[in-house]
């Protein structure tokens, strides 16, 4: 199982390395949103600190989520293009294919997120967190990427076509808009605020922001870890069930 998973991770990394266009989109899209918010809208948004310092944690999360969601397309393509039949006719655990997708997704997103962070630093992002805080932030991000990747794998198994599977990216990309990523939630109407404060992306962003800008993390940290862990648990269980259903009709 471990050896086969490693083989499939190698496959996934090769795929990522060859889908330069996908990687470019995963970097350029968040960068464009970052520039848009910092230089176009940012001046009009009062958050008490430099807007770039406020928005970058949200952008990083958007980048990680969008990229991880791409796992749905890869998983679906395997299921619909016949290659899964070949893997399933081998004496290996079919689920190692999925482990390969998720692990490669996390690796890919570490790269794209680092690139986006680099751009953020270039345009004036000045994080103040110490090494330990950064380590914690990286940990939370990895957990988030893993969780979203597993959910995406579920969605990839549910969707009928790779195009439909691609829709998951947009769901994940949209979530940060309804969170504290771009504006503090207390400026939103009450109903929306309730949603924004209780959706999973907000505590993750608050945690990242707290860690990177050496602000308070508080209950957000616990909530973030719980959310990401539940994504992973639900995603893994879901893929196990869906994979079996899809492959033994």
């Amino acid at each position: 199982m471990l050896r086969d998973s490693l083989t499939f991770i190698g496959r996934g990394l090769r795929h990522s390395a060859r889908s330069v266009d996908a990687l470019l989109v995963a970097v350029i899209l968040p960068v464009v949103i970052l520039l848009l918010f910092v230089f176009v809208f940012g001046g009009a948004i009062a958050v008490g600190v430099q807007y770039v310092d406020y928005v970058v944690p949200g952008i990083i999360l958007l980048c990680a989520g969008y990229g991880a969601a791409g796992t749905a397309v890869g998983v679906n393509a395997d299921m619909t293009k016949g290659v899964i039949d070949r893997f399933r006719s081998l004496p290996i655990a079919g689920s190692s294919v999925l482990v390969g997708h998720v692990a490669a997704s996390v690796a890919r997103n570490v790269v794209s997120t680092s690139l986006v962070l680099g751009v953020a630093l270039l345009i004036g992002f000045r994080p103040t967190g110490g090494p330990l805080a950064w380590l914690a932030a990286v940990g939370v991000l990895l957990l988030f990427m893993g969780g979203v990747s597993w959910l995406a794998a579920c969605f990839g198994l549910l969707a009928r076509t790779p195009e439909a599977a691609g829709a998951f990216s947009f769901v994940v990309m949209f979530l940060p808009y309804l969170s504290s990523a771009f504006v503090p939630t207390d400026t939103m109407p009450a109903a929306l605020r309730g949603l924004a404060e209780h959706q999973p992306v907000t505590p993750v962003i608050e945690t990242l922001r707290g860690l990177m800008m050496s602000g308070p993390v508080g209950g957000s940290g616990v909530a973030a870890v719980l959310w990401c862990t539940s994504f992973t648990v639900v995603g893994v269980a879901g893929t196990a069930v869906l994979f079996r259903r899809r492959t033994t009709p």
């Binding site: 039949d85 399933r88 006719s89 081998l90 004496p91």
Partner: protein, 310 residues
């Protein structure tokens, strides 16, 4: 005991439509067995069940001595499957595809590399080895797909319509590869809708029709079943045709003034036919002896009105 693939009464429906209605198969070790049938006859369903990808609704099947439902893992260790759609990874190169398959078959890194190189050479893909499969032609993909099935020598190789959609040249390439394999002693079960392919590659052929085997045997046995030597009698006029038709059990063709009399192709049969007509005073212009083509066999077995088991 000597059968490597054995299926008894396999049944499978999809959404209320019965695709297999009691399929029986017995493939001997080391033979090339063709499952011949038109589109929708259930060929792919049969192969998917035998390759453990699909559960049968009823019946049993053993491959390489293991039950396909109870012990799929053992079956998978003994088989390779090349499906109808080339199941190769388009983003990887041909070499990477083969090396990955070799790794999944438990070869170490070095052995996997060497095996990949061997197969690329053997399947005439060495020049394209380091190009991505997305840039391969249909024939190259199929050859790569076949090579991927052979990273370890399987006991049984399933080939589901290996040449469908290929141009004649690529088809010849796949045929040569399968013939090579057969010589090396691999048991091959292939499905095809092309009679020529079955005739050329297979030791034995089973005609699948309506979800069950309609006939089975070597190509020449199948031809014999449909009458090994049909005597075609050409008669001078309509009266002679009627006279001949009254005397013999044959199929009259009034337009061509011809009577087709099925027989075994022996001289004795021909003499009997002619003697009988002579005694009745029916004149005959000339005669032809015809051996039925596999196409005629196929049509007679799968034509309307013929259904179910042999």
């Amino acid at each position: 005991m000597t059968y490597t693939v054995e299926a008894v009464g396999l049944r499978r429906s999809f959404g209320g439509t019965a695709v297999l209605r009691g399929l029986d198969l017995a493939v001997r070790r080391g033979e090339v067995f063709a499952l011949l049938g038109p589109n929708g006859a259930g060929k792919t369903t049969a192969v998917r069940i035998l390759a453990t990808l699909l559960r049968p609704d009823g019946g049993t099947a053993r491959v390489a001595g293991h039950d396909v439902v109870a012990r799929p893992r053992q079956v998978r260790a003994a088989i390779s499957l090349t499906g109808q759609y080339a199941a190769v990874d388009e983003l990887l190169t041909g070499r990477e595809n083969l090396a990955m398959m070799a790794r999944l078959r438990r070869l170490d890194r070095r052995a996997a590399r060497e095996r990949a190189a061997d197969l690329l050479e053997r399947f005439d893909l060495a020049d394209a080895a380091d190009r991505r499969v997305a840039a391969y032609s249909g024939g190259m993909r199929r050859r790569l797909d076949l090579a991927a099935s052979l990273v370890v020598r399987p006991e049984v190789l399933f080939l589901d319509e290996p040449t469908t959609g290929l141009d004649p040249r690529s088809r010849a390439g796949v045929w040569a590869a399968v013939a090579d394999l057969a010589r090396s002693g691999v048991t091959v079960l292939l499905t095809t809708q092309y009679l020529e392919e079955a005739d050329r590659l297979a030791d034995r052929i089973a005609v699948l029709h309506g979800g069950a085997i309609a006939a089975e045997g070597t190509a020449s046995e199948l031809k014999d079943r449909a009458g090994a030597g049909t005597v075609e009698l050409f008669l001078p006029d309509r009266a002679a045709l009627d006279g001949a038709a009254a005397a013999l059990d044959g199929l009259p063709d009034a337009r061509r003034l011809c009577l087709r009399v099925p027989g075994d192709g022996s001289a004795r049969h021909v003499r009997e036919v002619l003697d009988l007509l002579d005694r009745r005073g029916v004149p005959v212009d000339r005669l032809e002896l015809r051996r039925p083509t596999l196409d005629e066999v196929f049509l007679s077995l799968t034509g309307p009105g013929v259904r179910g088991a042999a």
